[in-house]
C-alpha cells in the first residue's frame, strides 16, 4: 500500500478527532440541547453542508458510479431529484420546523412529532421504526467504511472496520451534534475536492465530454438514452418518478436529516442554507454518475462496477491525489454514519428510555445515557458488520424508501396543515411504512411498474388527509398546537415567553414531571 495514501488518510482521521475535541471543549456534551442540537447554534453554511453530506452516503461513490457504469445516462434520473433535495427540504420545512420545535421544546425529530401530534403512540411507533431502520442503515455504513478502508490501505477487513468504527464513535461521543455537524462540514469539502479532481482527470483522459459521448454512442447508443442500457426502463414512468422523488422530497421524511432544521441558530438561515445546498449539489451530485459512465471507456473490463470510481482514481491520479479521493470516499461514508448513529442513539435514549422507562433523569445524566446508547449501538453494529451480512446495500435502499414513506406527510403537514391531527399522523406512518415495506418485500414494483417510494408516499399522504378529515370532530388539533403553528407562520423572532421553551402545556410528560418535582 502506498505510504502517501496512508499518510493522507491518517491525517484525515486525526483532523476529524480534533474537531470532536474542539466541540467537546465548546460544551457540546454538557447539556441535552448542546449534545442533541449543538445548542441550536448552527449557522447556515454548516447546516447546509451537514444536511447534504449526511444525505449523500458511500452510495454516491459506490452505487452511483455502478449505476452509471451499467446503465449509462439513465442514472441521471436519481441525480436530477437529488440536486434539488436540499433546497426543497429547507424551503418547505426549514424555518417553520426550526421555530415549532423550539416553541415545543423538542430535542429530537421524533419528540417533535409527539408534541405536534400529542400521543404516546406517535412517539412509540415513530421511535421504534426509526431505531430499527436507522440501525440497519448504520450497519450498512459501517460495512462500507470497513470495506473502503480495506480497499485503500490493504489492511484486513476486521482491522479496517475497527479503525473506521472507532474514529466515528470517538468524535460522535465527544461532541454530539456539534462534532457531527462540523466534521460533516470538513467532510463535505473533502468530498467536493475529491470528486472534482477525479472528474477533471477522467475528462482529460477521454478527450472531453463530447468526444466521450461520441465514443459511447459508437459502443452502444442506448447508453446515452434516458431509458438505460438496451432501453430497459423505456416508458416506465412509475419507476422513473419514484427515482426522482426518493432523493428530492424523500429527505423530508428522514428523521436524521430533518433534525438539521431544529439545530439552526436562526430560523431564517434556511434561506442561505438552501442556496449553499443547491450550489454544493450542482457540483457534487452529477459527478459520480458521469464518472461511472465514462469509466466504460477508460476501464471497459471492470469485474465489479462499484469499484468504477475507485479504479479511475487509481489509474489516472498520482498517489497523493488518490489519497484525497480515498479520503473523500471515507468522508461520504463517515459523514452519514456519524449522523445516523447520533440520531439513533438520541432517539433510543430520549424517545424510548427517558420517555417510557425513566423520566426522572437529570440533564447531565441523560447525556451520559445517550452517549452510552450510542456506544452500545456502535459496538453492536460493529460486531454484526464483522460478519458481513449479505445484501446490506439492499437494506439501505429498503430503509430509505420506508423512512421517507412513513414520515414525509407527518413532517410536512406538521407545519403546513392545521387540520393534521394525531389519528391522521398515526395512520400515515403505519400505512406508509407498511406499503413501502410490502411493496419491496413482495416485489410489487416489478408487477405494477411503480417505485416503492412513490406508492408509499402517495398512500401515506392520502391516509393523512382522509383520516385527519374524518376524525376532526373526535380528535381536534389542540389549541396550544394551533397557537404554536400560527406563531411559526409569523416572520419574526420568537416572543420572549416562547423562547425559553418552557411552556408546560407543550412539554411532554418527562419535562412536566421534572417541573413538578422542582416545585414540590
Amino acid at each position: 500500500m502506498n505510504t502517501t495514501v496512508l499518510l493522507f488518510l491518517g491525517l484525515y482521521f486525526l483532523a476529524m478527532l480534533a474537531v470532536g475535541v474542539i466541540s467537546m471543549r465548546r460544551g457540546g456534551s454538557s447539556s441535552m440541547e448542546g449534545y442533541y442540537l449543538s445548542g441550536r447554534n448552527v449557522g447556515p453554511l454548516v447546516t447546509a453542508m451537514t444536511m447534504q453530506s449526511t444525505s449523500m452516503s458511500g452510495y454516491m461513490f459506490l452505487g452511483a458510479g455502478s449505476l452509471g457504469y451499467t446503465q449509462g445516462y439513465y442514472g441521471f434520473w436519481y441525480a436530477a431529484g437529488d440536486i434539488g433535495g436540499g433546497v426543497v427540504n429547507l424551503s418547505v420545512l426549514g424555518r417553520r420546523m426550526r421555530k415549532l420545535s423550539q416553541i415545543m421544546g423538542a430535542l429530537t425529530s421524533i419528540e417533535y412529532l409527539e408534541k405536534r401530534y400529542p400521543s404516546k403512540w406517535v412517539r412509540l411507533i415513530a421511535a421504534g421504526l426509526s431505531v430499527f431502520l436507522l440501525g440497519a442503515y448504520v450497519l450498512a455504513q459501517f460495512i462500507a467504511g470497513g470495506k473502503g478502508l480495506e480497499l485503500v490501505t490493504g489492511l484486513p477487513y476486521e482491522l479496517a472496520l475497527t479503525i473506521a468504527v472507532a474514529v466515528i464513535l470517538a468524535y460522535t461521543l465527544m461532541g454530539g451534534y456539534g462534532a457531527v455537524a462540523y466534521t460533516d462540514l470538513v467532510q463535505s469539502f473533502v468530498m467536493i475536492i475529491g470528486i472534482v479532481w477525479i472528474l477533471v482527470a477522467t475528462l482529460q483522459e477521454v478527450g472531453g465530454l463530447t468526444a466521450a459521448n461520441e465514443a459511447l454512442a459508437a459502443l452502444d447508443p442506448t447508453l446515452l438514452s434516458i431509458w438505460g442500457r438496451d432501453l430497459a426502463y423505456e416508458g416506465q414512468w412509475g419507476i422513473v418518478l419514484g427515482a426522482l422523488l426518493i432523493f428530492s422530497i424523500g429527505y423530508m421524511g428522514w428523521p436524521h436529516v430533518v433534525t438539521r432544521h431544529m439545530a439552526m441558530r436562526n430560523p431564517f438561515h434556511a434561506r442561505r442554507a438552501g442556496v449553499y445546498s443547491t450550489l454544493w449539489n450542482l457540483i457534487f451530485v452529477s459527478a459520480p454518475y458521469i464518472l461511472g459512465t465514462l469509466a466504460i471507456l477508460v476501464l471497459p473490463e471492470l469485474d465489479d462496477p462499484e469499484q468504477a470510481i475507485f479504479a479511475l482514481a487509481q489509474n489516472l491520479l498520482p498517489a497523493a491525489v488518490v489519497g484525497i479521493v480515498m479520503a473523500a470516499i471515507m468522508a461520504a461514508i463517515m459523514s452519514t454514519a456519524d449522523s445516523i448513529l447520533l440520531q439513533t442513539g438520541s432517539i433510543a435514549a430520549r424517545d424510548l428510555y427517558e420517555r417510557f422507562i425513566n423520566p426522572n433523569m437529570e440533564e447531565k445524566q441523560m447525556v451520559r445515557v445517550s452517549q452510552a446508547i450510542v456506544l452500545l449501538l456502535g459496538i453492536i453494529c460493529g460486531v454484526i458488520a464483522l460478519f458481513e451480512p449479505p445484501a446490506v446495500f439492499s437494506i439501505v435502499v429498503f430503509t430509505t424508501a420506508v423512512l421517507g414513506s412513513a414520515f414525509l406527510p407527518a413532517y410536512v403537514a406538521a407545519v403546513w396543515w392545521r387540520k393534521a391531527n394525531t389519528p391522521g399522523a398515526l395512520a400515515s406512518m403505519i400505512v406508509g411504512s407498511l406499503v413501502a415495506f410490502s411493496w419491496q418485500y413482495l416485489g410489487l414494483d416489478q408487477v405494477t411498474g411503480l417505485h416503492p417510494m412513490l406508492a408509499g408516499v402517495v398512500l401515506s399522504s392520502l391516509s393523512m388527509v382522509v383520516v385527519s378529515l374524518l376524525t376532526q370532530a373526535s380528535h381536534p388539533v389542540p389549541e396550544h398546537v394551533l397557537r404554536a403553528m400560527a406563531e411559526t407562520a409569523e416572520l419574526r423572532p420568537l416572543p420572549r415567553p416562547l423562547k425559553a421553551q418552557q411552556s408546560f402545556e407543550m412539554a411532554h410528560e418527562a419535562l412536566t414531571l421534572k417541573a413538578q418535582e422542582r416545585t414540590a
Partner: protein, 43 residues
C-alpha cells in the same frame, strides 16, 4: 449538446437548471425575511 440526444440533454442540463430557478425563486419569495443580520439571532 455534448453529443447527447435531446431528451438526455434535457435531463442532464434542463433539470439542474430547473433547480437553479427553484432556488432563485425561493430567494425571491423570502426576500423580506427578517433576522438575517449576524447580531440578530432570531431565536
Amino acid at each position: 449538446m455534448f453529443g447527447l440526444p435531446v431528451s438526455t440533454t434535457w435531463l442532464v442540463i434542463g433539470v439542474p437548471a430547473f433547480w437553479v430557478l427553484y432556488t432563485l425563486g425561493f430567494l425571491w419569495v423570502t426576500r423580506n425575511w427578517p433576522g438575517l443580520k449576524r447580531s440578530d439571532t432570531g431565536r
